[in-house]
């Protein structure tokens, strides 16, 4: 029976993916992609990855969708020009053949997977007690594979620096994007006043729940970033100046604190990012707390994009 649900979701997912790729215009394609992102979180639930489903629901359905829609709105007729560059039948059939070949090879690999499947779940369960957290995924993210998480935070900061570096002459350090305006008594402003308080509570709840249940800083930070973007999109606040010292400090504070905790581990537990016994949970919580503002800032600023105007100083 459960197969019927999975099958329905899977077929819809494939149909949306095809639509996204072959739709004629960019807007329907992006609309299809947002639908696809929402559906992906159902797939993750079917795969028993609630933590991943949360991340996908927040990022795939929300942030990426809004980002791409914003981009489609600024294409300014480049679509028609690109149409003339549409590749010929030869290349298209080559692409089709290549895609089919890749899919076939992957499918063969899936069908030839070893039984029983290799897993490190028992090791995680065995050692989870030492970290003091109850959610094995949080344990992996911040203890067993903490180095990955540290590097990820650094990658996010670098991506943000990359986006900022594209600023045109004279706009460096200015405000990103365009100023949004809306009727202060309008529906949009109303929604942007009502939703963020709820979103902030849900975000903090997910952050708090993340230690023992599905949830955690990424999901929470995404919700908070989306709420901030909502306020900006409704014109209730302008996007921040990117040369604001507090803002820049917040962006680097998380990775720096992470590295500091890592060095502390080097001194006290003999390994970078090692945690001395009994101190594991407080140190994990400290990293999470420090990473939180960084993640919110970086995700929201990535959404905002390249600084484009000097703004009012």
């Amino acid at each position: 029976m459960t197969v019927v649900v999975s099958l329905a979701v899977a077929l819809l997912l494939l149909a949306l993916a095809v639509w996204t790729v072959i739709a004629r215009d960019a807007f329907p394609a992006v609309a299809g992609f947002i639908a696809y992102g929402l559906l992906l979180s159902l797939v993750w639930v079917r795969l028993d990855g609630i933590d991943v489903a949360l991340t996908e629901a927040a990022i795939g359905g929300g942030l990426t969708g809004a980002l791409l829609l914003g981009a489609v709105g600024r294409l300014r007729g480049t679509e028609a020009a690109a149409e003339s560059e549409r590749c010929g039948v030869g290349l298209r059939s080559f692409a089709m053949l290549l895609a089919l070949a890749v899919t076939a090879v992957l499918m063969l690999c899936v069908l030839a997977l070893p039984e029983p499947a290799p897993t490190v779940a028992p090791q995680v369960v065995q050692n989870l007690g030492a970290t003091g957290v109850g959610n094995p995924i949080t344990g992996v993210l911040l203890a067993f594979r903490a180095l990955d998480t540290l590097l990820e935070a650094i990658v996010l900061v670098i991506a943000l620096i990359g986006v900022w570096s594209l600023a045109p002459e004279g706009a460096w350090g200015g405000r990103p994007g365009l100023r949004h305006f809306s009727d202060p008594d309008g529906v949009l402003a109303y929604l942007a006043r009502l939703l963020p308080p709820i979103g902030i509570i849900v975000g903090i709840y997910l952050f708090w729940a993340g230690a023992d249940h599905p949830g955690g800083k990424f999901q929470s930070a995404t919700i908070l970033a989306a709420m901030w973007m909502l306020v900006i999109m409704a014109g209730l606040a302008d996007s921040p100046r990117t040369d604001h010292r507090g803002l820049r400090g917040g962006v680097v504070a998380g990775p720096l604190a992470f590295i500091a905790v890592g060095l502390l581990g080097l001194a006290s537990a003999g390994a970078f990012l090692g945690y001395p016994p009994q101190w594991a949970k407080p140190m994990i919580v400290a990293i999470e707390l420090a990473l939180m503002p960084t993640l919110v800032l970086v995700l929201a600023l990535l959404m905002n994009g390249t600084p484009a105007r000097d703004g009012d100083r």
Partner: protein, 116 residues
């Protein structure tokens, strides 16, 4: 009970899929903007049903996240559409003088983005 919940989840997904046909056919942007709405509520309903069937309380959190973020996506859709209309109107104003054009509405101010 779990069996029934899963069937209902499949039913809701099917309904959303059929609704998406309208979205794909258009004809206008309004139909496509409804997509975010339809998918949001459909996915949330299906998630709640699947979560209850599996006895997994955390799935409710996923639905909660989806509810917040699909509202956000919906706003992004509307802002996009209004902005496109304004661009179209500006283009039109450049070419033809239309004396009978309606005066700028509150919504338009809502959509206006000005480079300072």
């Amino acid at each position: 009970m779990a069996e029934f919940l899963l069937w209902m989840a499949a039913f809701v997904v099917l309904m959303v899929a059929l609704g998406l046909l309208r979205v794909a056919r258009g004809p206008g942007r309004a139909e496509r903007m409804m997509a975010a709405q339809l998918l949001g509520s459909g996915a949330i309903g299906a998630l709640l049903l699947i979560g209850a069937a599996a006895g997994e309380p955390s799935v409710v959190d996923v639905a909660l996240t989806l509810a917040l973020l699909s509202a956000f996506a919906g706003v992004a859709f509307v802002k996009f559409a209004v902005r496109q209309d304004r661009q179209a109107e500006d283009d039109g104003a450049g070419r033809v003088s239309a004396p009978g054009r309606p005066r700028r509405s509150a919504l338009e101010r809502e959509a206006r983005k000005v480079v300072q």
